[in-house]
Amino acid sequence: MRFRFREIPDPRTATIRARPIVDLVVEGLEIAPQACLIDSGATAVRLGAHVAELCGIDTTDAAETRLAVGGALVSARMAEVSLRIASDEAAHEWNAPVWFCEPWMPAFGLLGLTGFFDHFEVTIAGYDGWVDLKPLDR
């Protein structure tokens, strides 16, 4: 599945920046796929706690972990959820642990090593501005 980089306005200037962002359907919430940044520096998949609320995922009994996200300490609770990514030609669905974080400052979800990079062979062509995701059959 190939995706063009998403172009977003630069908050500081009048320019536009392109980022490897894909849309993730969480727990079947098809009406609102969550834009997520592919982030090899993240150890796992991190989303805002509001996503769990929107999807009806109850994390109250999950153990609370303190994480540093974007330079801030946040409270995170993990749940195993279904995730889906689709292009015009194909789709892939898998289950993965996701840490739902509060407060959540980033504008996008973060797709990290556990739960994302261990499910796809990821090729990023920064110059040409596309990302290729090949699901791994395991």
């Binding site: 908050p11 536009i16 009406i31 805002g48 929107l54 980033p106 504008a107 973060l110």
Partner: protein, 161 residues
């Protein structure tokens, strides 16, 4: 000297109305825009279907006037109007062309949560809950939901541990 507000006398569906631009803006405050099928007008930085605006301002049944009448009336009051650049029945432009335009248009929604569909901002809200609520109420499905980054921190991943 303050500028005198423009009052337009218009007849819609046989009923005369004296409309001011400020009346329209006031009437639309706190009103959620409905999904745009083809034409839109911009009121207070938000896009509305023209028939929704005229229906809201005049109280008329929307079946009593056309989208063209509504759009023409609002343009005479000084509101900008436009047409969706892509509809499911028209050829889809190349992705790069779509996003060039979309990225520029997103700037006016900085800090807000947006739902994107094709080349359009379907809706924007202060919270993701309000945004998804709007999608559900209007039977809409977005391609993507996110907050338009307001600073570098929001725009970057910054490698969480």
């Amino acid at each position: 000297m303050p500028e005198k507000p423009v009052v337009r006398r218009v007849t819609i569906a046989g009923h005369p109305f004296d409309l001011r631009r400020s009346d329209v803006v006031r009437a639309l405050r706190g009103v959620d825009p409905e999904p745009i099928t083809r034409h839109f007008v911009v009121v207070g930085s938000r896009r509305f279907p023209p028939k929704q605006v005229i229906g809201q301002v005049t109280g008329l049944d929307r079946a009593d006037f056309t989208s063209h009448q509504a759009r023409r009336t609002l343009m005479r009051l000084g509101f900008s109007a436009g047409r969706r650049s892509y509809t499911p029945s028209s050829p889809q432009p190349r992705a790069a062309e779509q996003h060039d335009r979309l990225a520029d248009r997103l700037r006016e929604f900085t800090g807000e949560w947006v739902a994107i569909k094709d080349d359009d901002v379907l809706h924007a809200s202060d919270s993701p809950q309000a945004l998804v609520g709007w999608l559900a109420r209007h039977g809409q499905k977005a391609d993507s939901v996110f907050r338009v980054p307001e600073d570098d921190l929001a725009a970057s991943g910054l490698a969480p541990l």
